[in-house]
Amino acid sequence: MRGFAERHVHAIASATRRLIAEPLTHCLTILVIALSLAVPSSLYRIISDAASMAKGQAGPPAITVFLRTTVSQDQVTKLSESLKHHQNIAMIDFVSPEQGLKELQQRLGTDDVLTGLDHNPLPPALIVHASSTDPAILLALQKEIAASSLVDQAKLDADWARRLHAMTHLLEEAIFALALIFAAAVVIVVMNTVRLQVTAAREEIEVCKLMGASDAFVRRPFIYFGMLQMLLGGCVAFGITELARLGFNTLSTEWLKPYGLSFEVQPFHGAEALIGLLLALVLGWFAASSAVSSFLSRLRPR
């Protein structure tokens, strides 16, 4: 166990020595990695916060449930209570016939809506706010609510729901595609750096192989080298993202304030930053591992 730990400590020390041996070259590589990681992560942050703001301003997609005029208050309360526990429902508002009439009068700008009628014909209604913007989930929810014997009609503004969902989905896909492109760029950068390191260490690797070193023994310091580059690149990327966020927030406050609007991009929280760094490490491992394996498969010790 101690030998195992020492092998890894030795490999990390060797990787660090390689990194320090050419500080300028590796600083530039780390900067390239950092920029490649910072661009998609900054865009992700801005677009996801903007989408949340848009959703917040437009309000969550709602289903207007018109109940039968014959239902009692007790039945309304029971139905409302059972819907509250539904996993796809965030909130329910009850609108009584009187409240509905008042809103109608306000909308029409007249008090004589009931002229010629002996009673208020409006039914009690529930405004069901869904927790999802997915049109498929909303339509299923509408169908489920409409199936109740107490419900006369359940109306959903499906077009708006579809538009909002399509818009956020498109943006998410665009960020994902961008992230993939930048991830590929990062992998290529690390692979190339590791390939250069491995080529420079050819003699050392040959000697180790002649003495019976396994592929894992040879690979280990180079994998740590790739992961170290990505770790440092990830940390610098985090700094760049924060600086960009602060700059963006200053500008957006300046531009939106005259219109009475405000929009601030939130910082990455701990878990997000940790996941980002772990992803960067996995990319570093993959890139370095591929570069060394490709070299070893062609190596014939002389």
Partner: protein, 229 residues
Amino acid sequence: MTDTVPMIEMNALTRRYPDGREALHGIDLRIEAGEMLFLGGPSGAGKTTLLRLIAGIDRPSGGEIKLNGQLLNRLSAAALEALRKNIGMVFQEHKLLMDRTVEQNAALPLQIQGLASAEIQKRVAAALERVGLGGRASDSPLALSGGERQRLCIARALVGKPALIVADEPTGNLDAEYGEAILTLFRSFNLSGVTLVIATHDERLVQSLEGRLVHLDQGRIISDGRTHV
């Protein structure tokens, strides 16, 4: 034929290069544990090829080679690597890492074996002491003379306490005085029970030591006898 399993056994061993050239033709050779065997012959006789086959660096094209009764022909690359960890190797061109110290060079086989650093330090110090480089541990190999570099190679070969050491032209680049000193060092290992297979073209030096001398020429064994001390 003896009943005991020889340390190395070759039967009709052939090695053909990818270009079709045959470096070894039907070699039959048996090396017992504790032997000190010299492989003599001119350049291109097949000495280095034979050593590489013994060390599991190359694979035979035909015939078979066994090490301690284990057939090497069909061993996986990983199994051959594991096998090489237990063979001490001295290379003609030293193959020292010039960006590391004498101590770090000697420690390399033990790091490959995955030994703990305290054990590595202990064994490296003993090996360097044995070859007379005890005071040069922190020096760069660049600061060593040709003879000292060769002794460092020998320290690196014996540090893993192998039962078998193969050496390719260990006195090749040295003058007679240093050459004799190196061979005397080998003789002392042999006396402590280590089997040695040494390829050399310098037969004058070989004749100064007790041992077995196998002559190769054009990939064939042309004589197998004792040195004439």
